[in-house]
Symmetry: C2
DNA sequence: TTGTACGCGTTATCAG
DNA sequence: CTGATAACGCGTACAA
């Protein structure tokens, strides 16, 4: 907690100029003798470079921020596990913000970009307001948004495709002979909530199933809310033979309720979650879930940001990560895990199956299909290998 | 992404001096007319204060960091949920670091304190090396350590009491008639791992049970490792009627294995976890767990840090949070949750039960019991109310 | 009340 | 190869 020595202190001590000290500390060509003296002095004094002063001059902090809606959601965990190493390898330190999806806090973080504490930001907002868009547009450091933003927004963007994801799930359930497929969704005023609601209706229609408001329940994206919603739905509607859940947490809540109600999963009610978090594989019964590629999205976002940091003037890019259905016991019966079903395979049209090149992004020919007007390059992310869990655990 | 305007830009635009701009921006007494002009110019130009430059001068950043070993462990989540609001209320922004318990990274974060990017740091290291201690001692900003450090270390410190915690659990199991109590621990070279190993032996001894290496297994603090360890233990040793687990994740892994092995919980094998994370309440069967007061520790740490920020010269303080046993279905049978058992009640000696004063710290008389030599004030934290989950959820 | 000038700790430029 | 010195953007004595 002592007053820290500066390069001036060192310069005095070593009997050289501050310029020489700076040179030595930055590894610039210097006479051996000088190097020795400076390093010795620095060591003795316990010198630590003042990064604030350095940043004032260099306009760089070598820090990057990731602002997530809720640190408690495993989805973000998966993202962090991918973002961290990519950025670290490039010499950046990652700092995390948990905004609790409070718009004011997110705007605050965005604003803090202007304060120059970080060189860039990856953000995953639940709701995208006009204020978000305005602040992003005038932000003084590069921003990458994970999640859908309105078409035409000039910002690097990584998207999931929950529309296709929901369809994969519904098709799967339909294929199992389920016809009364209930839907447990999150808030409709969030981007994913709205998207999944629309996708559900659409998917039912495609399969010739009627849309019945009576078997749809809207709550929050949490386990407890999922349980509440499931209970409400079961109390109200009879004969539901499947539950499509807008994320894994909701699905886990539903499993709790079904178990308590004495209903067998999947015999009586099949359950599908979304996000394919660690919890899905670990639950009982294990949970069939639509992976929206959290890991891939995190990795893509980090790479997008690095890329941007190296070229501030390039056109904004859009990366879309395709969903993958992972079938587990909650729909498949005896706990046997079947092979994942990718979007390409599952869709009737068989829209050109992707040929993954591990660890990189595959650029499609020309601008993205839904962004033609903006002239942005669109790319599709391919699967990354799972991030290893760190050693250690808890205090 | 434009080049940001500075107070100079504003000064020109408003036709005043930079000093006036600074005064207005900091709310110092200024003529109305000047205020108006400056604010107008600032608004037009979209001015954002350069916090880096400000910090260079003021030596404050209004940012505080929390470095956790693993962002994926719910224990840290509980801490963050408490730390965040306390710091926010005091005007600090919280930034999070996930070190993956890599010593080099933790040292790096500690070092970054010297870099002046944050005004203070709360850290929860899994292992405490000499390098940690050395770096902490010379750190240029206040540090609060969550977790045990060697006695005599001059640093604000918040501790759990896992020794008593383990005893609560063993006593509970013993009281249920269990006599072959296996132990699934984390790495012995971590502080909590070592403490819990010792506590386990001690607690058995107190109850007159033999220590049998054959029913002890050491792994990592993760679910998958917990499962592996449980499997190994069950393969090797027969007749185990209870499993004490060093944390909840390990316990969940054990539950998976027991279930797969067709063993009933708690009839055949009772299971106790540690940390009392959200997962404990949500698992099936729900998990009896020893709460080590993650939330309380987080809150106490935040308050300790704020306190220190306001008085850099005060003596280091030690806060110890007492453990609480939370009994659930994994030991109690039919899912009925019994009342929590606090340390005071459970111990035979009945060491003066605490009288909680909500939301504050209760100071014990004089120096802490195991710190008498250092002359530090010791306090005991009391329960805080659970932090509410934020609205929203996942993209 | 307002403006000038200096310092915070670094890096970078330019003579020597 | 080295040493003075000018920024970087802001806060603030001190002078006007």
């Amino acid at each position: 907690m002592a007053e820290g020595p500066t390069i001036n202190t060192i310069a005095e001590r070593a009997g050289v100029s501050i310029a020489s000290v700076s040179r030595v500390l930055n590894g610039l060509p210097t006479r051996q003798e000088t190097v020795r003296k400076v390093l010795a002095a620095a060591e003795e004094l316990g010198y630590v470079r003042n990064a604030v002063a350095r940043s004032l001059k260099s306009r760089r902090t070598n820090q990057v921020a990731f602002a997530m809606a809720d640190i408690g959601n495993p989805v973000y965990l998966a993202m962090v596990r991918q973002i961290q190493p990519v950025l670290k390898a490039a010499g950046y330190r990652l700092v995390l913000h948990s905004t609790d999806a409070i718009v004011a806090d997110e705007i605050d973080v965005l604003h803090s970009l202007g304060e120059r504490y970080v060189d860039g930001l990856i953000m995953s907002p639940l709701r995208v307001t006009d204020e978000h868009l305005k602040t992003i547009a005038t932000a003084r450091a590069p921003v990458v948004i994970i999640g859908s933003v309105p078409d035409g927004t000039r910002v690097d963007n990584v998207r999931a495709d929950s529309r296709t994801g929901v369809r994969l799930a519904i098709d799967h359930l339909h294929g199992l002979g389920r016809r009364r497929i209930g839907f447990l969704n999150g808030p409709l005023d969030t981007v994913p909530g709205a998207a999944r609601a629309a996708a559900y209706r659409e998917a039912l229609k495609e399969r010739g199933l009627p849309y019945d408001e009576g078997i749809v329940e809207v709550g929050d994206f949490y386990r407890a809310e999922g349980a509440r919603a499931a209970r409400a739905l079961l109390d109200r509607a009879a004969g539901v033979d499947a539950l499509m859940c807008a994320n894994d947490l909701i699905a886990l809540g539903a499993l709790d309720v079904l178990r308590a109600a004495g209903l067998r999963v999947p015999e009586d009610v099949a359950v599908v979650g979304m996000d394919d978090t660690d919890l899905a594989a670990a639950s009982w019964p294990s949970l069939t879930s639509v992976s929206l590629g959290s890991a891939e999205r995190g990795k893509a976002a980090a790479e997008l940001l690095l890329d941007r940091l190296n070229d501030m003037d390039r056109e904004p890019r859009l990366v879309t990560v395709p969903p993958v259905l992972v079938v587990r016991a909650s729909t498949a019966g005896e706990g046997a895990e079947r092979r994942p079903v990718s979007a390409g395979q599952a869709l009737s049209a068989g829209g050109e199956a992707s040929t993954p090149r591990a660890g990189s992004l595959r650029r499609t020919t020309g601008p993205g299909p839904d962004r033609e007007s903006t002239g942005e390059a669109a790319v599709t992310a391919v699967p990354v290998q799972a991030a290893p869990q760190p050693k250690g655990g808890t205090p």
